[in-house]
Amino acid sequence: MMKQATRWLPLAVVAVLGVLLAVGVWMSRNPNREALPSPLIGKPAPEFHLPVLHEPERQFGTRDLRGAPYLLNVWGSWCPGCRDEHPVLTRFAETRRVRVVGFNWKDEQADAMAWLEQFGNPYWVIVRDYDGQVAINWGIYGAPETFLVDGKGIVRWKFVGPLTDEVVQSQLLPALAQLDATK
C-alpha cells in the first residue's frame, strides 16, 4: 500500500510544480502586475492642504472637495507616462463625470505650467506637492497614479501607471457607477 503511494509521489510533485508554473505564467499576463495594491481602499482619504499651482498663495485641500466624488491624478512634467495618459484623461474630463483634481508631484512650477500650456489642462484644479510630504501619506510611489474618492471622502479605487481608454471603460466607469448606486 505504502509502496503504491511512494511510486506515485514523484508524479504528484511534478504535477504540483506544473500547476504552480501555470499559475505563474497566467499571472504574468497582467501587464500591471507590479502595481502595489493600495491599503487606502475603503479608508478615508488622507487630509491635505496644498498650494494651488496657478495661485501659489491659495491653499486647497480635502475639505474643499467634500460632498461629491473626485478623481485625483498624480502627474509631473518630468513623467513620460503622464504624457501618454494625457489624451485619455482629457477625453474623460470632457465627459464632466466627476471633478478631475491634478496632483502635481515634485515638479517645478514653471515646468508644470509649460507642460499644461503645451498639452492642455484637463484638470478642475491642480494642487502642488513639491517636497512630496503629502504624497507619502497617500502611499504615492510614482507617477502617474490615479485615485477615485467618493463624496464622503473614502478612497474607492486606485490605478498605478498611465490610464488607458480600456482601463477607463473596464475599471473607472464601473467604479463610478457603483458610487452612484450606493449613494
Binding site: 507590479e34 502595489l36 495594491p37 491599503p39 513620460p80 501618454d84 515634485k106 507619502i136 502611499g139 498611465p162
Partner: protein, 149 residues
C-alpha cells in the same frame, strides 16, 4: 559563464522595468546624523524596508526618488521618538505589507512563514516512513548480510 548568466539576468531586469512609470530627477540633500547610534539604527531600519518603486532593492540601496523621500521620512520619524515598530506600521499603513522584507505574522502571511516548515516536516515524516518500511521488509538480511565494514 557566471558573467554571462549575470548579464542575462540584468537584461531581463531591464526589460521588466516599465519605462512609462517614471520618477523625477531632483538632487538629493545628503542626510546628516546627530551621532553614530542614530546612524546605525537608521541603516539597520532602512535595510529592512523595501523600495516601493524598484521593488527588488531595499530602501537603503535604492536611488529612486521615492526611496530618498522615504529615507528622509524614516529619519524624521526616528527623531520624533517613534520606535522601529511604529515606523514600520507607519509605512505599512500607506504602502501595505509589501514595504517590509520580513512580513508581519498574520493570517494572510501564515503560509509564507510556516509553509517551508510544513513542507520540511512532511518530507521528514515521509522519509521516516520509507526507512521504517524498508527496515521491516528486510530485517533478516540487515541483521546478518555477511559483509564486513
Amino acid at each position: 559563464m557566471k558573467a554571462w548568466i549575470l548579464a542575462l539576468l540584468m537584461a531581463c531586469c531591464a526589460v521588466a522595468t516599465p519605462p512609462v512609470f517614471a520618477q523625477a530627477g531632483q538632487a538629493e540633500a545628503p542626510l546628516t546624523f546627530t551621532d553614530t547610534a542614530e546612524e546605525a539604527r537608521f541603516h539597520a531600519l532602512v535595510a529592512e524596508l523595501r523600495c516601493v518603486m524598484c521593488q527588488n532593492q531595499s530602501l537603503a540601496d535604492s536611488n529612486a526618488l521615492i526611496a530618498r523621500d522615504l529615507r528622509r521620512e524614516v529619519l524624521e520619524l526616528m527623531r520624533q521618538g517613534r520606535s522601529d515598530a511604529q515606523i514600520k506600521d507607519f509605512l505599512v499603513e500607506r504602502y501595505g505589507q509589501f514595504v517590509l522584507y520580513r512580513p508581519q505574522v498574520r493570517t494572510s502571511t501564515w503560509l509564507l512563514w510556516f509553509g517551508p516548515l510544513v513542507v520540511l516536516l512532511a518530507g521528514g515524516v515521509l522519509v521516516a516512513r520509507i526507512v521504517r518500511q524498508k527496515a521491516a521488509a528486510a530485517p533478516a538480511r540487515d541483521a546478518d548480510d555477511g559483509q564486513e565494514w
